[in-house]
Structure formats: C-alpha cells, structure tokens
Amino acid sequence: MPVLSNKPGWFHIQSDSLAFIASGKKWEVALLSFTQPIPMQLVYTKNGFIVFPKYRSGIIEGNAELVLTHRNQSFYYALALKNKKAGLIYERDYRSPKTVNPDSSLQQQSIVHRYDQWRNLHQLQSHSGYFTESPIQLPATSGVYRAQELNAVSAYYVQAGSALSIPIKAIYDRKEKAFIVVAGPLKDRHNNLVANGTLVKFEYSDDRHFFLKEATVLNGFATTSIQPENNKKYQLKASIHQTFSNTIELHPQ
C-alpha cells in the first residue's frame, strides 16, 4: 500500500503535490472532487511517486478522493481541496418576486451573496455570514429597475395596476362620419398609466341591437371609432374587467 509522506491539511490545487512511498511502476491516479474528476499527473521517484494536478486552475472547493490504482487494487485517500487564491469575486443580488403588481403588494425580498470566479461562496463584507436577506418596499412607479446597475439579468419590474376609473369622451368626426371614442387617460391608484395592451370593452346599443367593440390601451388611451347608422342614437359605456365608465350618448347631431 502506498504511504502518503506529506499529507496536507488542505490540498491547494494551484501549488501542492502529494508524495507517495510505494513500490512498482504501473500506477494510475484519479482525483474525484464532489463535483468533477480532476486530471492528475504522476511522476516516479526513487522511493515511489509524486502526483499533482495537470492544470493549475481553480476548482470548486470541498472534499475529494484521490484514487491510486495498481493492477487490480485501488487505494483511496481523503483530501480537502482549496484554491490558493480566490480569483475574481462577484456579488449577486437576487430579487423575489421579480415582478410586482401594486394591485396586490409592492413588497420584495432581496437576497445577496458573494462568489468567486470558480463558484465558491465567500463571506459578505458587511456581515459575517454568506447570505443576507432583506425585505424591500418598492416605489409605486411602474417601470423596469435593476438590482445591480450593470447587470441586465438582475432586472425587476414594477407593473401598473388596474385602472381606477375610465374617463370617456366621444367626438363626431364629420369627415370620417364616425364617432371617435376615447377612453383615458387610464391610470391606476398610484397614478401609473395602465399597461399597454390592456383590453377595453366598448358596449353600446341602439333601440334594438347590442354592439361589442374591443380596443387595446396604448400609452394610457384606448380609442375606437363607431360609424352610426342613419343618425341613430347610441348609449355607450366602456369597461375593463369590473371597472366601468359612465354611460354616454352618441348622437351625430
């Protein structure tokens, strides 16, 4: 059985090597960390051999097992891997939920942690732990924000809420011979314009028929045109889900 002559507390992947006292020449070596196999090299000495990593780049630190094989026999040695230097260190700020809607809540949770270029966690500078979490009350203004300024992946979103009321007006366009009906400006309770694409239903009726028209909101306004038949009068109201406008009367005269 090969005897490890220089067992280290930590095995630094960028600098350390392991010396074994052993007889025989046909030895094979493998280093298996808990995430990946690490290629190793073996050089024979007078008393045995030395093994060291083939590439001296960083790894994910942690427990590993060195396996020495000679013919049909394998020998296992427990090691603890460590990088000599941490390399580049990044900070990550996770936000949850990424999308908030003021109809329900503007609360958000931020989770911050630090990690190096080889994906090892590092202690935070401000705290003694590895993670910090804090609740955040977001501003009610809708928009796209970033938790970290230069990182597009960290973006989070404050949406507009539901329309509080539907102001509505109609103008008769004589040239087009049609009513131009405009619903808006549509705002939520925080004065944000409601989302583009929000469906506004226009229901109107004459004395016999019921009409349904749909329009989508663009920049806070939903517009539709209605061509009246033979100077007929129409009663019209607009709605978004459960919010209704006043009923207005359309008459070409």
Partner: protein, 1011 residues
Amino acid sequence: MRTTLDKPSYGIWDDYYGKKLLLVALSLALVTHGTIIYYTLPKTYDAFVHIFFADHYSRFWFEPWEYRWYTGFLTTSYPPMVHQVIALIGKIFPLKVAFCIYAIFILEILVIGIYRFTKLFFDKTTAGVAAILTVVLSSIIETLHVYGQMPTLTGLAFLLNALPFLYQYLVKRKLGYLVMTLAFLSVTVSAHHVTAIFGMVFFIAPTIFMAVTDGLSKTDLSKKITGFALAFIRAALKRHKEILLFGFLMIALAIGLIFPYWYWSKTDPITQVSIPHGSRDNFFEKPSSGLIFFVIPLTLIFALLPAITHTITRKKRFIGWAVSFFICLLLGSGGTTPFPKKMLGENAFNILTLDRFGFWASIIAIPFMAKFIYSFIAGPVKDFWEKNFRPKTHFILSTITGFSYLLFIVFIFHLGSFRPLQPKEIDIQPLLNFLNRDEHMRWRYLTLGFGDQMAWLSANSLAATVDGNYHSARRLPELTTRPVERLENAKFSGEKGLASLTDFLTNAEKYNLKYVFSNDRYYDPLLYYSGWNRTIRLENGIMVWEKGNISTIAPIQPTQVHPLLKKLWGIFPVGSLCIAFILTIFYLRRYKEKDYFDSVPETNQYYPLPVIYASSLLPILFFSGFMFKQVYELLLVKEQKDPSTAVLNYYNHLDFQRFESAFRFFKPTPTYPLDQFLLEKSVSDGGLLPSFAKLDSIAVEKTTISKDTVFAAVYTRWRTSLGRREKREIIPLVKQDKKWYIIPQPFKLEIPDEQMLHYTYTLFKRQGKRVISSFPTVKDDRVKKPFASFKQANFIRDKNRNFITGEILNADDVPVNIALSVLVQFGNNTVKKYYPGTAFKYNLSPKASSFFQIELDSTEVLDSLQIKSVSLYADTDVSEKGYLSGGSLAYTATPGANHKINIRTSLHNELTTEINIPGILVAEKDKDGFIWQTQLLLHTTAVRSGLSTHFEQPLQKIQHRAKRLEQIPITLFINGQLRQQLPVNKDELATRNNGIAVMSHCFMSQEIYLQ
C-alpha cells in the same frame, strides 16, 4: 472472306438455356428495379416504417424498447431480421440507400427462388422464362414499389428457395437437404412470421404432397381418385419419419428463433378495433380498392387463367398447388364474396390484409404462366398460330401483347404519381433542426399531413411522437378504441379519426404533446380552437404549432424483457441469415448434384384449342383494354354530357383545386374570363368552406326549365376538422354544342368605403434572458407565471351530460396563455383529469376574460364512481400571440320555440387582415350572472378587411332542465396555489339579451404574428 457470327456453332442460346435466361432475369431486375427503387421508395406505404425499425436496431441493437412512438412499444412485436440487416448495411450507407441495396439483394434472391421453384414443375428453360416473368410481374412490382413490403418479399424469397431442398429431402431422404431446407426456412421465420405461417399451408404442404406423389408408381398415378388417395396415404406413411422430423424441427425453429415475438403476442395480445383496409372491401362496390388490390396484381393471372387452370389440374402431382392457388385467389378477392370471411373467421378476416393471398396466388401461378408464355413464344402454341394464321399474325399478336403489358407495368411503376398515395416529399432537415434546438425534444410532437414520411422523420430523430405507423403496437386507448390508422392522416378516417385527433390535441398535457408539425391546413381550425398557437413556418413550408403549459416527458418504465431474450432477439435472426449463407456456399461447392431434379416428371407441352385461343387473346384484350380505359379517363371522358355530370365534375375539379379545369365548365363568354373567375374566387374563398374543408358527398337535383336550360340544386356535405358542414346552392346550366355549361352568377362584391384601412395593434415579444453556460438555464430564462383569476366556476348537470362552466380573467399586464383542467377525485380514490375542448379562449390579452366549458363524463359514470372532490386548475404562461380574437360584434338573441334562442350576429372586420373563420363564444347566463353553458359558434365564410358578415345560429337553452350542483364545491387553483372565486356579478347585457352573452372568437390564418 466475310465472317459472321450468325452460325449455329456461335449461337448464344445453344446451351444452358435456363441459366442464361436466369442471368438475363437477374440483370434485368438489377437494371430496372435497381434504377427506379430509390425514386419509388418515398412513395411506398411501408418502406419508411421498416427504415424506422432499422434505425432502431442501428441505435439500440439489444434493446427492444422503442420509446419514440405511442409513448413506447416493444420491437419484439415484429420479426427483426430485415430491419437488423438494413441497420447493418446502414452502418456504411445512408438508411435509404441501405434499404435500396437490401431490396435489390432480396429481389435477386427472389428471382433465383422462382427459377428453382419452377424447376420443381417444369424444365429449366421454362424456369428461366419464369425468372424473367418475375422481374416484370405486376404483383411483385406492386409489392416492392407501391407497398415497400420488404419482410414479405424476404420471407417469400427464402421460402421459395427452401422448397426445392424440401422436395429433394423427401424424394432422396438425404439429411443434407433437410439442413438446407431448415436453414432457408429459418430466414423466412426471422423475416416475416405471416409468410412463415401461411407458407406452411400454401407452399410447404403442396410441396410435400408433390414429393410424395412423385414417389408413386405409374400404376398408382393412373388410378382413380380413391385408389390414388389410398396409394398416396401409403406412400406418405412410408415417409412419415422424414415428414415428422421436418415438421418437428420446423415448429421448434419457428418458435425458438423469434421466441420474444411469440412471448409478446401471448402476454400483450392485440385488442384494438379493426382498422379498415381496402383489401377487405367488396371490389364491385369500391372499384378503387379492386383496382389496387386485385386488378393490378392479378390481371396477368386472369388473362392466363385458362392455361393455368388447364395445366394445374392436369396432373395429380399438382393437386396441392391447385388447391392452394384457388384458395389464395378466392381469399384475395376480399369482401367481394362472403366466402373469405367464412373461411378465415370474422376475427382473422378483420386483422389480415387479404391482398397478400392474391400475391401468393400470383407466385404459385408463375411456373404455369411461364410454361404457357414459353409455348406461345417458341413452342407448340406458336406453331399453332403460325400454321393456322400465318407467322405475321403471331408476330403482331405477341408484339402488341408484349408492349401493352409493358405499358401496364410502366403504369404501375408510376402509380404513385398518377394516383398520389402520399403527400409530396418533405425536406426533414428543418424539422430536425427545430427538434434539436432549445431542448424541444423534451416534449412529444405530432405530425399532420406527412403520410408515411412521418416514419422517416422519426428514423432521423431521437424525439418522440404520440403517433406512430405500426398499428399492432398501439396500446393507448384513444387509438385502439377507434378504427384510426394514424393520427397524422385523421382526416381520411372520417369522424372517428378526427375524434381521436381531437382527444390528443385537447388532452395534450396527458401525453406531453407540445409541438404539432402541420403540412395540411385542413387541421388549422381544430388546432387553433383547441388552444394551439402557430410559432414558426419552417423553411420547408411546415407550420409549427405549439401549446403552452405542457410538462416535459416524465421517465416511463419500459416493459421489461428478460436480458437473455434481448440477446436472443439480437443474435438469432441475423444468425439464421449468416448460417443460411455459409451453408449455401458449402452446398454449392461440395454438395450440389448435377441435374438433381431428375425426379421431376415431364409435362405435356400441348394445350387444347379453347385454352390456346383464350390465353393467347385474353392478355391483349385485358392490357390493351386497361390502357385504353386509362387514356379514355384521362382524355376522352365527356365531363359535360348532362347537367348532373357537369356539376359533379365541376365540384370535383374545385375540390382538387384544379381551377383552370373548373373554369371550363362555365359558358364561354368574353365577359367572364378566367381572370374574373379567379378574382371572384379569391375574394369569396378563405373561410371554413371550402378552404379548410374536404368535399364529402354531393347530390344534384335538377329542375328542367326548357330543353336546353336547367337549374341544378346542389347539396354538398363537407368534412372540416371541426365537424361536418352542409351547403345548398342553385346553379343554372345551359346546353351549347352538346355540352352543358354553368352560367356564372352575378357577383355581389362588397366594397368598403375606406381606401386605406388602419388599425393599431399592440404586439408583444417575449424576451428570454438566456445565459450561455454549460448548464441548462434554470432561473433567468423563465418568464414569470402571470396572474389570473376565476370570475366564476359552476358544476352543471344537464340530464346525462356534466360539465364545469365559468369565466376566467387575465389579471396581468401581459397577454397570457391559460391551460385549464378539472381533476375529479372519486370514491374509490381514483382520479381523472378533464380538459377544455373548443369552448374556451386559451389566449387572453391583459384584463380580458373568457367563458369556458369543460366536459366531464356522463352522469351514469360519475354517479357510479361517486365524486369525492372537484378541483379546477389554471396554469398560466406568458404568451405573445393569440389574444386578438376578431372584429366588433353586434348581436340579438331572439327566443324561439322549445327554449331555443336564435342568435343573430353581425361581425365587422376592422382589422388589417382577413378573418377566415368568424366565430363567437356564447355563454348562457341566468339573471344572477351564473354561466350554465358555453358554446363556440362558427360561420363558414370569411370576411375581408373593412367588411361585415351576418350569421344566425340557434342555441338550445338548458337552464329550465339542467341543475347547478352547488353541493359539490369546486376548489380553485391558479399556478398550483389555492384561490378564491371572485364575486359573481349580474350581467346586464346578457339579461337584456335573453341570458345570452357573447364574445368574438375568430380565426385569422394569414398573419401568424397576430394569432
């Protein structure tokens, strides 16, 4: 000195007639079939299925579980040798080429087989003629180039080669021949079990009979039937050891070689509704089936039937063959007479494809046909014609017969072009790229309108489809309970086919079915209204449809097969071919005797006069007649001979989109040119009828006004993917120059006021934030689950029908795709999931809502199982399409008799694209606003931009008779979280409209970025 090779001593045909003819046959087969097979292969029925199996063995030789079709099946359900050999050749060549190489190889073995088989009956020259006949025999050409049935041909090729060995073994009692017989029959068993089973009856039994008969003395042979029978039994008993040894070993090999197949068929028996097959039709009622399955393969046999019958019934040694031949011929006639069904039994009749019996009859007939043909070309029959009708007559007769037959063969080679059996060839590379991209293989896909090319796509990809092209392996109840061949050609299986397809499209989550590749817009309405969205049109023109909120494929436990059986399955069948090959070389070098067929008695060369006349003249009559009929149908049919024929043919041309031909039916007038016809068509087409429909049936009723003028009332029934539709039209016709013409109707063109139409769309684009790394993106590529809310959900029982109705709201600021499902838990702790069909708008714009209805099982079923709880689940996904649902509506709901409501709708298309299928989603509400039912009502004609359409649809109200089951509460979940229902509000508009609320739900086919 002038030299010439035209000397008897240099004659090319002086010796070895049979072998030289065989070489000619082999060369001919190579040149003709070898050249053409690569081009006919994509149009065959079965070639791609066998290629798919070959691909399976190429990838997983010792693993019989094939997961790519039908959510998984065992390939032990089909003998593997053919597929394994193609897989081996496919290691060097591409699979299609490997198939062609194998096919040519087998055809050559078949030609040799026929040559050797014929030598059992007649002399070697006749055998050579038989070999040449094989190359041009219509049944073999059809089996190879139209059906692509490689295992059948392989089985037959080796069976025919085994028969002479069997005959020799029984006559000479040498064990070497038994070994050769079994070696060849082993290959037959490993290639095609059906050929092996029926081959025992139709080929091996007559061979044994013939061998035993040949051992009888001349005195025994000349006895009458009873005496002969007794002598035969005595001779058979003398050979009982040989016969029993052969029988025992044959059965042992048949079971042992493909034991996993027998084990599969015993443990997992086929229990499915029989799929209709044209070979079981009554050929008088369905002449098209008769043409394909009877006329084309067997015309030559019928033409030469007098000669075949004469020879096959003349000698006692042929009795077995005569019985086999006539039984096969009768069984091959399918459902034309009741006898095949009675002989085979109801069950076998409905499982077997009967054309193979006709095929075997044609094989048995080959030696007898060859004998007559030889006699006609260079024997006593030729002498008869030359003596009685001058040599020129015989020359002309044989030339015309030969040419007309060859034209007939050319017709069969091109049958796939004349009568397209398959869609045009599809370039599968864009599909493969799509499947490989973005982990699309983690879901199942379905092809529509691909024909048998779906198997070619499967063979080239590791992605799985819910469909498949091997009926015996189907186990999903949605497939086995209906007579549906494949989902991808559901439109050809009538209503049941579409019902099956609808099940898969609506229950897509159950099968992890996320992508549909559509090559046929016929299915577009069904896909759209079942909640599918178009995502991309690939470079090859295939439209990719996608369904949101579908889970990825969960691991399935394959059906367990013992490891030893897996090994046997991979080794024995191919091993049998190798052994047969090695033994053949050994036999040819060491064992073969010269003139080893000396025991075959000679046959009389003369035919009686009626047989000579009939068999000489019938071929010319049949083949010339056939070709004349084709030419007549192509060129000379009077399509306008009477008003009904004119209308029927006009619709026929329209249905197949032959617009120029259809236009010729209009009365020629300078004011109605082709341009005008096409222009009018372009503005009136595009709706459910006729653009997304297939003409099902047509009836014409004419009212005569005068001798030369009639009005034809045309009733048409159309099949659409959303059910049948009917239409009635009145068409005026006039007679001019002995032809009936349609008078073009004045076209009412609607023209909008505006010259330019504008409409503001708000379009969305979902942007994934994909991080490029070696790990699949887990978090940052996911777009959030949007908010939704149930406005109401009700459990309605209408007599025997049960359903959940309600309304769901997109509460978010982005468009969403919603997947609804109802989970019912029963008293016995079983659960069942139900999904909405077409009564739901699956995509909603921000703050939009949709009514829905989800059908449950019948009252009987639900009551017997006892409902424990009902949960309604909604899963949402950010969508970027499908939320535009059409134009503006005006509607009135007028009450009619018996609680019927007449809904009259006007739909104005204010969009910048044509609305192909105007439709409304209707909810029946009570005075408190609760929804009792939801229905999708569609209009059949399109409405162009800026125009309006009006349609009226009846709706049967159910409030007076149905119940809202409030005692069974519905638990609501959105994205897995428990949610409360919003308070139900009264719907004023619905109350004023007799309880009817509507929303537009239209299909627009052109601008796929909108829907």
